[in-house]
Every structure is written in C-alpha cells, then in structure tokens.
Symmetry: C2
Subunit: 444 residues, 2 copies
C-alpha cells in the first residue's frame, strides 16, 4: 500500500486526471454524525465532496444516534435474557436504516448511491452472536456497484455467519473494524474514520490544556493507547489495520482539518518533532478496579489457582503485582480488572477461599491507570526514571507498575489521575500552544 | 388440501396424538397486534398455545404499530423523492425488528423460536421495488428450523429480487400475501390471519347494527368484497389463496372465537343459511370520485382516446357510463377512479381537450359505491330488481351501475351510502340479532 495522498485537490489531479488512476477510499461515520435527518444530509454532502475529487467511495455507517440503545431497551422489555441470535437480528436493523437513509440523501444530491447490509456486502464472520469476528470479505456486489459509478454505503457492525448463515454483530463500536476490513478487501488507498474530535491527541485535551494533535502515529503506539484508555479507535480495529497494512485517517466530521494518520512506523515522516519524541502520548483509564488477595500461602501454584479462578469467570486481568511478606511466609497478590467485572471476580474468589486458604479480599475502585506510550522509549533507558520522578515531584503515590516495550503504566489514586497526566505530559515536553504544527512535506 | 379442522382441542387430538400427523399452520399478526412490548408478549403467548396443540407453527409478522409510517416520514425528511430501492431497504427494517422481538418473547416462554427476514425465508420476488410480486418461495431454512422444533417467525411484506438480489417490498398490507404464499409453499393445513375484528361481516357493523359474521365465504365472493371496499383482506392475498387453494381463517387477535373461513365454494358447508343466501354481504367504498367528460363528439374512437389518456397516466378506472345526447350528436362519458388519482386524471384530460374536442370536465368526489356480493345471485335473476327497489324505497338516487356475475355495484351520493347499505342488508334478509349462529357441524 502506498503512502496516503494529500487531500489537496492539486495533489489528487495527478491520480484522477486523464488516464489517471482512480483511488478507492473507505469512509466511516459514527452514530452521532447521523443522529437526525439534517446530520444525514450534511454527511451526504461531505461524502459527495470526496466523490467529486474522483475517488471511488465506500462508506461504512453506524446506527443513528441512540438507536442501538433504544433497541436494546425494547429487547429488555420483551425478554430479560434475549437469545443472542435474535438480538443481532434486532440490532442490525439500526445500521440498515441509517445506510438506506444516507443513500437516499446522496441520491438527492444527484449522485448514485446504493446501500448494502453487512451480509450483502460480503462481511463473513464467525458465528459468535454479539461479538463475531470477521473471517473474510467477499465484496463482489460492492465492486460491481462501484463499477456502475455508485457511492456504496455499507451497514457497519454486522455480518453473516459463515457456518449458520445467520446475521451476526461484531460488538459495540465495531463499525470502525468493518471500515478497515473493507478497505483491506477493496485495496483502498486509505480508510477515513470520522469522529467528533480532531484526531488522536498527546493527552485528553479536557485534562491537559496544551495537549496537541498527533499528526502521525504507528500502529503499535495506537494499539497501546487504545488498550490503555484512549477511546478514539477500537483496539480490534487497530489490530486489523496493522495486520492488513491499512492506513487509517482519524479526523473530525465537523471540519476539513487533517486529523491523525495511523500507519506503519517505517512510513512516519521524519522531522524535528520525531527526533525529540521519546513519548508520543499520555493516556489514562478510570474504568478499572484493584483486587488484593491477602495472606496467600507462599507455596508454588497458589497464585496460579487464583488466576485460574478469575479466568474461569471469563474476566480479563490487566496488571498484576505480588509482594512476599518477610514475616509469615504468605504473600499478597494484587491485580486490576474492569470495574464491571468486580463483583463476579470477588464472588468467584470467595467461593474458593477455603480451598486456597487466603485470609482476606480487598477491593478498590477508586483508582486510575496512567500510561505513557512511545516507540521512542525503546532506545532511551531513562524514560521510566523521568516518568516516576515527575510523578513524585507532583506528590503522586504510585500503586502498581506495568510495562511493555513501548509503554509504561502506573496505577494511582483516582483523584490524582488528572495531576499525573499533566505531570507526565509536561515532563516529556509534549505541551504545546494550541494546535500542533503539521510536520513533514505531505500536507497531512 | 383438506377441510380445515376445528380449533377445538378435542378435534385436534386425532391429528396430533400418538402416531398422529403433525400439521403445519401459518399465522399472521398485523402491526396493531405488536404495537409495544406488552402486545408482543401477548401475541407470543397466543402463538405458543398453538404450538402446544402439537402444530408446526410459522408466524408472519408486520412492523410494530406506526413504524412503517415513521420510517416513511424520516425518508421524506432526507429526500423528497427517495429511490425505491433504498426505501425498500429502509422499510424492511420494521418487520425485521418486530420479528426478532417476537422471537425473543417466545423464547422467554421456554419455546424455541427463530426469526427470518423475507430474503432468508426464501421469498423470491420480481424487482419492482415498493410493489414486488412473489415469484417463488424457497423455504429451505424454514423447514430446517421447523425440523429443529422451532417456532418460525418470518418478516412479512418483504422479499428479495430474483434478478438483482436486492431487497424488495410487496406493497402496503402485503404481509397477508406473505402468509398465504408461505402456507402454500409449506403445504400448511391452513393460514390464520389475525386482525382487530372478529372476521368478515355481512356489512360494516359500524353502519349496520344487525351485521353478522360470515362463517364461511368463497374465494370469489371474498375477492369481490375486497375489490369493492371491504378492507379486511388484501385483494392480492385472496387471489393468491384462491390460486394456491390455501384456506384462510380471518379471526380476531383479541379473542379465541372462530372468525371467517375463506375457501373453495365446493367446500362450504351446506346449511339453512346457505339455502337462503342470495347475497353474502353488502360492502361500500367512499374512496372513489366521478369524472364526467361533457360534450364529447359522437365519433368512433373519441371514447377510446379519453381512456387511453387516463390509462397512460397509470390510473385504474373502475366504472364507466356513456350517455348519448339526442340533441347535438355529442355524448357525456362518466367514469369513477380513486380520489387520490383525481388531480392527475383531470390534468391529463385537460391537456388533450383541444385534440379530442370535448366541451367540459366535471369532477365529483362526494360519491360512494355500494355493492352486493353473493354466488347465490347467479341462479336468481330477481336480485337486481330487489336491490334497486330497496334503494328506491329508501329514497336513494342511483348514479352509475356495474355488475359482475356475483356482484352488483351502484354509485350513490356520499351522504346516502349508509342508508343504501342498510336498505340492501335488510332487503336480502341479512339482518340478525347480534352474532350470527354458527352453522354446520365442524364447530367453525
């Protein structure tokens, strides 16, 4: 896949002029972009602008505004435990409606448009209702419709099971993944994810006034950001993009400004900002809680039995710390997990307290996780020292620590999360004056 | 196909007991039966009752309450002339939602249920969006799901085009047709159409206090009633039932009372009521208007040019009367048509007034059509005399007359429609005391 082009018309002329090559672009718009008839018409005009530049355009669309939540509420009223197959049948009506309405709005501008369900678009998935994974895309009908000069609208979030032929959904927020998967299957030049913010920032701008837009970011860094609290792109979507080598442009649906390009690190433009950037961004996550198992007998296998118990309850554990007590040959084991799984985990552990023989269980949901992410830290061993010093100087207590090759995460008290984010952002020189300068020569 | 059974449990035992044959039944519920979560649960319980009797049950469902109108309104907000393909894509979401919700409600009672879209159910249609016709039913998935002991829920009103593979709709009210077509394809013993009235009546009970439920009616009579104002069954549905020999039971979704069986005339039970019944019912229609073309030159071909003009505007004409003037060798031609087509017809005729040379156009939408229908009139030549005498005695002016082998229709002033219906109902001895006695030995 080539480097993404500038969206400046003059740069595109060479691709779409006489004898030029027509590029394929996939655009994804979320539910808030199509909340009512007026927004749908606005999105339609935006899509048509891209078509006018000479691109083949495929659009992936989410359900309108709160449609999915309203349908879930209706399902609850009918049955407290609706079968997953039927829930998928119900929920997929949402994207079907927004896709058809968007096609109508585009047709009203004089351009041809055709909407397709996930099944019609050839989104083939596993049979796991509510959380299916894309196995394959067979985009024959899309290609045909593009050949007939249509703008193609695809209902996001949905597909059809390869084995049962039943309609499936890919999980909440998975329209991003649909878009990236289609971009890969169609050999699109890039995939644009339209959202309500201007791109990926060095930190949450609501916490850090000087947070700057990141013009380019590697898949690996984006994965770490997504996995550690940045809500802008779904983890699964970034994984898919990395595996398929799809370049993703995260940008605002309310402006024409460039956003953030997510791409292979080898393609990231060298520039003054790149030289200095040890850290690409600071992210935080308030959705976790900490469980501490106190007085675990210090014998081989006891820790394993604790984590087996939690894993059996289908809970994903994030960070783990084990402290050996010097006094009584017992240990305390702490781990973090999603707050929503807290009760289930505690119940499961209490049920085996007698067998394992630990003395107590502590639960703390007043915590937050702060992470710094950047490929630059690979070659700079002083990063963790800088991070911890900055936090210490800000008077912040560090509870737990975990690291990957390009990330350091710490658990801090919930009320100190904002201070920790600000301290790290400043310590690594990320603070800027408003919108960041766009580096490099591509105009992105 | 055999005579429909009684729905009395004792009568059904012989079919479903040990070694007995399992019968297939198709049930159709309209949008008002599933307007909210509570109604959906009520309908689910009703369906489960049939399943408990040992039947294989296939249910055809319409969109909830006003969903279709709300979706049409949304489409209008997005585009004044939405493409028909996209409108079908949008509207079919309605039945998809009600089908999934109904399947959930059934599952909640402990029975297995699976919903299918028209496309999944194998409803193959022509490609005429908004008014497609069923070409074929390939019910493989339905049969398989029935084999797995599921109650099958099929989204009505929709199918998939044989040629384009696009989603189609069959026109408003066409869920009845889906049900009858499925009953035919599945070899169902009968098809139950649940509605908000107790069946087909000898006249509109809101006009005639003594109107009685008709326990059995032939396809031909039902066709005439449907074509002449009775709104209880769609014309196309009755045509399909007659062609396929499907017995249709029209009954109330609010009671367990038997309704009206629509069936081949040879199967109708002989009984005292049958002996006397010259006329099966009286129906009326206030939706038509009358156009009179005045001063048409009395030359060969002029009338043809008038009707060619109207036909070219895609308008269906109902009744026609031509009066030759004795004074000036010109004629007046009157015809009736749907009021909704009035403006188009007048515009089309005015455009050719110079060419044809008529002198004036009159338009009257203050008319009503009253029809008497009955196979009995075939062998009783005095029927029209009885009808016209009754109308004359009631002081009613007859404007136009048209007849078929089993129907006589008259146009009367709008304000005299009720009087005309009552006069005809009484003249043919149809008045009863409340609910009609059920004749015959089958308990229907």
């Amino acid at each position: 896949m080539s480097t993404p082009l500038s969206t400046e018309p003059e740069a595109l002329d060479s691709w779409t002029g006489k004898g030029g090559r027509v590029t394929r672009v996939v655009q994804k718009f979320g539910g808030s972009s199509v909340a009512d008839a007026e927004s749908i018409k606005r999105v339609a005009r935006r899509i048509v602008e891209t078509k006018k530049l000479g691109h083949d355009v495929v659009v992936v669309i989410s359900a309108m505004g709160d449609t999915t939540d309203e349908l879930l509420e209706l399902a609850q009223q009918v049955s407290p435990q609706p079968p997953a197959r039927e829930l998928d049948m119900l929920l997929t009506a949402g994207e079907r409606m927004s896709a058809a309405l968007l096609a109508m709005a585009i047709a009203d501008t004089g351009f041809h448009a055709r909407s397709f369900t996930g099944s019609q678009a050839g989104v083939i998935t596993t049979a796991t209702h509510g959380n299916a994974r894309i196995i394959d895309i067979t985009p024959g009908r899309i290609v045909e419709a593009l050949g007939d000069d249509n703008i193609v609208i695809v209902a996001g979030f949905q597909g059809v099971s390869q084995t049962t032929k039943d309609i499936t959904t890919l999980g909440r927020g998975a329209s991003d993944t649909t878009a990236v998967a289609l971009a890969a299957a169609l050999g699109a030049e890039w995939c644009e994810i339209y959202t309500d913010v201007d791109g990926v920032f060095t930190a949450d701008p609501r916490i850090v006034g000087g947070a700057r837009r990141i013009p380019e970011i590697s898949y690996e860094e984006m994965l770490e950001l997504a996995a550690n609290g940045a809500k802008i792109l779904h983890l699964r979507c970034v994984e898919y993009a990395r595996r398929a080598g799809v370049q993703v442009h995260v940008r605002s649906s309310f402006s024409a400004k460039p956003g953030t390009w997510v791409m292979d690190s080898s393609l990231i433009t060298e520039g003054p900002a790149m030289e200095a950037a040890l850290i690409t961004g600071v992210t935080h996550d308030r959705s976790e809680a900490k469980v501490t198992v106190v007085g675990v007998p210090d014998k081989i296998g006891e820790a394993a039995r604790i984590f087996e118990t939690v894993a059996f309850a289908d809970i994903n554990i994030d960070m783990i710390v084990q402290n050996v007590s010097v006094q009584d040959a017992s240990t305390a084991i702490s781990f973090t997990l999603p707050q929503s799984d807290g009760k289930v985990a505690l119940d499961a552990l209490r049920a085996v307290q007698g067998t394992i023989g630990f003395t107590d269980l502590l639960y703390d949901d007043q915590i937050g996780k702060v992470s710094i992410v950047g490929v630059g830290m690979r070659s700079h061993p002083g990063v963790s020292a800088t991070f911890f010093t900055a936090l210490a100087n800000a008077g912040i207590n560090i509870g737990m620590i975990s690291t990957s090759e390009i990330r350091i995460s710490v658990v801090v008290p919930a009320e100190q999360v904002d201070d920790a984010v600000r301290a790290a952002h400043t310590a690594f020189g990320l603070d800027g004056e408003g919108e960041a300068v766009v580096y490099g020569g591509t105009g992105r």
